[in-house]
Each structure stands twice: as structure tokens, then as C-alpha cells.
Symmetry: C2
Subunit: 215 residues, 2 copies
């Protein structure tokens, strides 16, 4: 009997090896910049095996996207629901997003490219997942506003602020550390994040939409 994959994080079957390689290459080079031959090479399999196991480029990309972006929605909804106060719900929401990005280092690149392309390659399933995440945020903001703890906000703007901040920071801050093109004088003046990214972002966002001292 063939050795079965008991530990999903340590893929020993061919399809998982391919998906893992594909995730890395798609994140690095985007859809058009990714070549099937390179994925096969990085996965250590023949290209025909790739087609046998998964299918064509579109299908492979859809799998990667789903693996990276899907399955976040449910976790967020559950975790947010466990918190009581709107502030705690919002912090929980941000925690989940940061945790998802930490678990999936390819997420920022893939999401940014997908946004840049107007979601041209997004499968329906994933689009639904994203919408679901968004609706959780809208509910939290709405709830907080009704309870008088949040100001009257533009939900899409707050969403852009949370996502934009997390994704940008995750992508830009390593570039800076690699000193790729930022002059040393700038790095010297930079401060390290004091705590967890989720906590820092939570502080900023909560303060920004706090009702107490609204202008």
C-alpha cells in the first residue's frame, strides 16, 4: 500500500509538492510570469506529472489561490463572534488576518497582484470567501457605531486601511531589511515594531475610529 499523507504540513505526496512549489512561484512571479516548467522543476517532478495530478495552469492557480485565500473566512467569523465588545471584535478580526498572513507568507504578494488585476483570476469560491470576511468587518463596525464606541465610518475605507496596512507592511519591511534600494540613512532612522504587528495595527485602527474624541 502506498504511504499515505498523515501529516498535512509535511507533504509526501506528489500533488502537495506541486501545490507548494506553485504557491511560491506564483507569489514571486505572478500568473503570467509563472511557467509550468519552473513549477515542475521546483517540485521535482516531470511536467506531465503536474498535468496528470492537477490540470492546466488555470486550475493550478485556482488551487493555489483557494489554498491561500480560502478557509480564512470561517475562522474569522468564529473568532470574532467569541468576543463581546466591538473593540475586542475588531482586534480579533485584525489578529486573524495577521495570523493568516503569518501562516501564509505568500498571501500578501498574491493578494496584491489579484487586487492590481481587478481580481481577474479569482475563482468564484474565493470571491465569496473574501466577501464573507468583508461582511464580518461591516457588521463589527456597524455594531460599534450603534453602541456609540466607533465613529460613523466608511466600511470600505476601514477595510482598505486594515488590509492595506498589513499587506504593505509585511511586504515592504523585508525589502527594507534586505537593503535592496532603501539608503542606509533611512534604515538607521527607522524604529523596530515594539510588539506584535496585529497589536500595533489594532491600536492605530481602534484609535482612528474611536468615538470618544472624534473631531
Amino acid at each position: 500500500m502506498k504511504k499515505r499523507n498523515t501529516h498535512p504540513d509535511k507533504p509526501d505526496n506528489t500533488a502537495d509538492k506541486i501545490l507548494k512549489a506553485a504557491r511560491a512561484v506564483f507569489a514571486q512571479n505572478g500568473y503570467s510570469g509563472t511557467h509550468m516548467d519552473e513549477i515542475a522543476r521546483r517540485a521535482g517532478v516531470n511536467k506531465a506529472t503536474l498535468y496528470y495530478q492537477i490540470g492546466d495552469k488555470d486550475t493550478l492557480y485556482a488551487n493555489v489561490i483557494h489554498q491561500v485565500l480560502g478557509n480564512i473566512a470561517q475562522g474569522i467569523a468564529e473568532t470574532v463572534a467569541q468576543a463581546e465588545k466591538p473593540e475586542d471584535k475588531l482586534q480579533a478580526y485584525i489578529n486573524c488576518l495577521v495570523a493568516a498572513v503569518d501562516k501564509n507568507p505568500e498571501m500578501p504578494s498574491i493578494m496584491m497582484r489579484e487586487v492590481a488585476a481587478d481580481g481577474a483570476h479569482l475563482p468564484q469560491v474565493v470571491a465569496h470567501d473574501i466577501a464573507s470576511v468583508l461582511s464580518v468587518l461591516i457588521n463589527v463596525l456597524d455594531d460599534g457605531r450603534k453602541k456609540g464606541v466607533f465613529t460613523d465610518t466608511t466600511p470600505f475605507l476601514v477595510h482598505s486601511m486594515i488590509m492595506g496596512t498589513i499587506l504593505f507592511y509585511k511586504k515592504v519591511s523585508p525589502i527594507k531589511d534586505r537593503q535592496a534600494f532603501i539608503p542606509a540613512s533611512l534604515i538607521a532612522r527607522d524604529r523596530k515594531l515594539k510588539g506584535d504587528l496585529a497589536v500595533e495595527v489594532g491600536k492605530l485602527v481602534l484609535k482612528a475610529i474611536d468615538k470618544e474624541r472624534s473631531s
Copy 2:
């Protein structure tokens, strides 16, 4: 005598037509997803003319990037310097960025892809421009902190917040309006931006880093 280009915004010369078309196509499809034939077609010229006028794909892309991202730096530095108080400087900074994006609708897509690709295609000139913009922000934050009006922030996080918010909102909000994949129930619950994007972002960011009632 050949009709000369007196009004730079109404390009009548071949190179400008090509650059304009290239800007649109690169923004829409990214570097690898863009084909020289399509640019030539959209510019209404023969592909060989494109090569004669500008050069190969890398050169063309570098030109587009420079046109879109370059030349922002100087304007920002000047405008920010004219403001007195750190709060006004920061608002001016944000105003400039939003104005730049408004003037250059292709900027969000191109910047996002460039960030996603770790700036792989960025010419040195443009990298320098970006660093210069960043240093303006760092100085403003530093100044505000010393004067006791801003909290002690992580500059790169604030930068990510400003850029991320603007770029994401600019890209995501039209997607939503086109109803591409966001369900109608979400759109219904959304609020329109009350005022200018720059003003709204300015309010949020200033409140987020305001010293008065820091936790």
C-alpha cells in the same frame, strides 16, 4: 515642417502615443502579462516603430515606471515644507499622494505589482525617488514626536498605513462599484465617502497617531 508637440498632455508624436498605451497595458496586465504587439496595436503603430522609438520591453517598462512613479518626490518635499505644524505637514503629504494617484490612475496597479515583486523591475532612479518620499514622512513624524503632537510611531508602519490605505481604496472601491464579485447585500450596507479621500485618510491617520489621548 513636421507638426511639433506643443501641448505635452495631447501627445501627437509617436513616442508619447506608445508610452501612453504602454502605461495602460502594463497597469492592466503586469510586466509578463503585457505583450509588445498589444501595445503597438493600442498605440496604433507598427511594432518595429515601437522598437525604433523606444527600445526593448525592459526599456519601455522602465520609461513607464519612471513616468508614473518618478517626479512625485520633488512636489511632495516642496509642498510639505510650506506647512508649519506637523499635523498640517502630514495632511499635505497625504494630499500630495492622493493627488498623484488621481492624476495617474495607473499608479495603484503598478505600485502594487512592484511591491508584490519586491521591486524587481524598479530602475535605480525610481527607487531613489521612493526613498526620498519616505524620508520626508520620517522627518515629519520625527518632528511631530519631538513637538509632542504625535506618539512614538514605527515610521514604516505609518507609511504602510498611508500608502496601503490609499492604494487599496483606489483599487478596491471601483471593483465594488462594478459589482464584479461583491454581493449586492454588501454594497447596500456600504457608505459613500463623505468628502475627499485625502481628507478622510488624513483624519484617520492623524487621529491614530495623535498624542493627546494616547493609550
